[in-house]
Amino acid sequence: MPWYTLCGWLGCLETDHECTLAMPTIRRQRMDYLADTANVSIPVMIDDVKRDLESFEMTRTRFLLIESTEPEVGLTAAASEVRLPAFLLSLSGVVYRPSESSDTFNSAKQIEELHETVEASELLEMESDELWLPTSPIDEVRSEPKFGDVFRVALPLFRLSMSFGRDGVTLASFLEQANSMRQQVTYSDVETSAFRDWYQQQVEEAEVNYEKQLGRDSVLDWKGD
């Protein structure tokens, strides 16, 4: 699975069966949560760098989520190797790689394919959420960071930032703890290019749609026409 679950689902305990999450081609494997924690990093895209707010040198980023709000029997919760007698009503999975065969988004095609795979399930949707990071570690690995730049954030810092975003820690505590984790932020040049290319594809597709609609009511007039 190309996501790390956010809200408690630790993955199916069975290691060798077809996924029942309406994505039969993806094999669900047990995620060894503790073992993987050290290696997981999440791609986050800069949304806005705040530099003109006193004592708030922070950067807002966004990350991809796979969401399900429908109850689905195939998704079950587990704790301490014991499957809990419940199925999950909803799921928020943080995307950390495009697929099991690739650790980074190397092309717009991979991003598009992930969207198509998720949408094909009919139970799942692609969404995004925000993550605040101190700007200083970003500045250290990328001169003049701007919106659209993609960085990798290691899981411990990601979790701390999520906690800050949900008012779990104060700003002062967050900054202090995050300062000791500053090496957990790395710039991802290849993913920046991939996401920019993917955005450009959406713009070009919108322009094609616009051209097709010219002359119909579904195009706004210009003033003075």
Binding site: D47, D48, E54, R60, E205, V219, K223
Partner: protein
């Protein structure tokens, strides 16, 4: 009788504004500007549904329930949750400014593919918008830029500023359009302006330009009602200097962090305010 109601929904930080046009003998019409719903915290979606249920409006049986959805600019605290809103309610139009912000990709992709969005395109001050019921709409900002976004480096400066006019009353909604842009906008403000949204959630750069001037505030009459979507966390909005400035001029203002959901409504002659804090 016709009535326009503009509700600034309290979504914490960020914007979500519901527009409602009612007229005797007609189905009410709705539109939405921006959204800041987090995946596990859909405050605006819940608000709109409850509001419609209270009004006994069945959105499920109306294709393209919203007349339009406007994204003022590509920042996350304005765009997040819009996909879900359009999926739930459907929209005739989806408008947005020309933007270089890759964060818009997901929404554009959805609009390109989904039948729940009837038409979509970028807008600027050269575009003629259809009426919203009896309400005429005019875009005051950004200026037309044939080759790309008006400002490729600062998305706030691409924010759509829109005027809504019902008979003799106009409202202006501002997104995050910074104060530095307002010298070019103030000459286009409607003469009958009665309500304005403080730009950029009452951030300092929404009120004050680089020389400390207050261009939009200087241009509006003293009796214009002022609303702001703001919250202390995480951006420390409103900025204390903005509040000090408004207080020093004895301006009447309403803020979502204190008044929660704030509504301004007009019959085209007078303005009524309503807020949810008791």
């Amino acid at each position: 009788m016709a009535r326009l109601t503009v509700t600034m929904i309290d979504v914490g930080w960020g914007d979500c504004i519901l527009l409602e046009f009612e007229k005797d003998g007609q189905d009410p019409r709705y539109a939405l500007i921006d959204c800041n719903d987090r995946p596990n915290q859909r405050l605006a979606l819940s608000f709109v549904k409850r509001h419609l249920q209270t009004k006994q409006v069945d959105w499920r049986n109306r294709r393209h329930f919203f007349d339009f959805v406007l994204l003022t600019h590509g920042h996350d605290d304005h765009s997040r949750g819009l996909k879900q809103m359009m999926s739930e309610f459907e929209t005739k139009w989806f408008w947005y400014p020309k933007s270089g912000h890759p964060g818009l990709a997901g929404l554009l992709r959805y609009a390109n593919r989904s039948a729940k969005v009837d038409a979509h395109q970028s807008v600027d001050e050269t575009k003629l918008l259809p009426d919203f019921g009896d309400v005429s709409m005019k875009i005051l900002w950004p200026p037309h830029s044939p080759t790309g976004p008006h400002d490729p480096n600062d998305e706030n400066n691409n924010s759509v500023v829109m005027a809504l006019t019902l008979a003799d009353v106009s409202f202006v909604l501002t997104g995050d359009c910074k104060a530095s842009n307002w010298p070019s906008i103030v000459s286009k403000l409607p003469v009958n302006l009665k309500v304005i949204q403080v730009p950029h959630h009452a951030a300092k750069n929404g009120m004050f330009d680089s020389s400390g001037g207050t261009p939009w505030l200087d241009a509006i009459a003293s009796n214009v009602e002022i609303g702001m979507s703001c919250h202390i966390s995480p951006h420390k909005h409103p900025h204390p200097d903005v509040i000090t400035e408004l207080n020093s001029q004895a301006r009447s203002y309403f803020r979502t962090d204190e008044h929660y959901h704030v509504s301004f409504s007009t019959d085209g002659a007078t303005v009524k305010k309503k807020w949810s804090r008791v």
